[in-house]
Amino acid sequence: MNKKIITALIFPPLLAYIAWNFSLSPGAQNWTTSEIELLQSLSLNRLPPLPEVPSNLFADSPDAAKFGHALYFDKRISGNNAVACATCHQPEKMFTDGLALAMGTELGSRHTPSLVGISYSPWFYWDGRKDSQWAQALAPLETAHEHNTDRLQVARLISKDDSYRQQYELIFGLLPSIPESPLAASPHGDEALQTAWSSLTIDQQSQISQVFSNLGKALAAYQRKLLPGSTPFDDYVNRLSIEDDSSDELLTRSQVAGLGLFIGEAQCVTCHNGPLLTNHEFHNTGVLAINGQLPPMGRYDGIRIARKDPFNCLGEFSDATNSECLELRFSRDTNDLVGAQKTPTLRNIAITAPYMHGGQIKTLKEVIEHYNEAPISMLSHNEAKPLGLRPLQLRQLEDFLNILSAPLATDPIWLSAPIP
């Protein structure tokens, strides 16, 4: 008798618990018209042409892309001749490095973001401290833990390498005379570099910085080739759009349920929207500080740095008129940007672990759990709210995120070092 009572007390709740956490989702998803419209807005079919870059006249120059391709893979553009852009942004890893923190000449302080599709973003770096891809490309070259070189040495390399000089002059015109001494000089970096920079005339400084900025423009022209390919998710939406019943065969029920959560209850689409699954904006989502570092100020500092950057859209090395620098002129710098980091693309997300600005979270499962809990932010406030999703739903979301990867829509010639 006692056994029967115990069985009656234990089994129904146990079965209910198992059903709640592990039961399959209901049958085929019936999307509403507005849901289909939202799904279509996420499809790669809706990706517009690359945005114009008024600050870079050479953004779509084939010669500049070719030149930038060579520069991108050239390890001579580093203090130890061992680091190229491709060292951290590796083509075989969707232009990431698989590490929590970047490793240039030394260990860095941020996670390497993917470059795929990033040409669509108006802001660069996790904190948006650069307002163009060409301005961004310059900064790592002069950062001690990344390339650890300087603009004078880079300009000298271009002047001494016949192929580089020829390519430079074909695109940008005559290369100015690059002084033989000092050996290294930059307005950034250690005291020796800055003192050496001060020893140059104003004209020399301007010419060297002009050459340097042109190299950034070539690197940006190359990076504009790096575009995402069509994924099973895009195929599903395309078939759904033409009311092709075979769309149901493309994804599992769990993946479709995950997609439903993505645009619905889980609210992912709030920030991960548009064909690149990012709004290119900055949000504080309560991610723990990077081990050993203070919580970063994020976009709050980033916009202030961008406004002072001599390589920004309004600066002397930009090709834009002031009226064309809309993002910079109308940028916001309010307190709610404290601790806000840039929303990354979710394209290829399953194969670009770890995650977040410091690579703090190792797996997609843990990322989803983070958003489900929405912990209190260490600095300012977490914009996300707890989702309260069930374990089954968390797995469905993960299943969906696993179908967002595909080979790049980029000619393979751009995906490895050019043949000399």
């Binding site: 939202l38 709030t270 548009g274 709004n279 290119h280 904006e281 809309l326 109308f330 916001r332």
Partner: protein, 136 residues
Amino acid sequence: MPKKPILLAKQFLFFAIFYYSPVWSDENPDLLLETDGGYSLHIHSHLQPLAINQIHSWLLELKDESGAVTAASISVAGGMPEHDHGLPTQPQVTEEVAPGSYLIEGIRFHMPGKWQMQFSIQVNGIVTNALLEFQL
């Protein structure tokens, strides 16, 4: 008349003005608002149809019963009340392009959902407000 009904009537008027939720569509690309000071505010987006993640400008035409209202000082703010955050940009009126027509540059929306745009309009030292609420 007792005070309470008057208060309720005022509140109703306030909500009628401030919770007007127009639908911005291809068929209805322009919107007309009324400020709490009785001015009419015609809004035209240069981005048609209105979409997220694209910086663009709007044209505002401010009128009263006698026509275009010139030399107004207009500030604009916006955000998503349900998400407790503002716009990703700081739009500004940069030019009165024609008498009573004001250009607002630097507008960008970065999320789908319900948005609000608040217009604060100063004419001859008197401030009047309008609130636009719409779905993206």
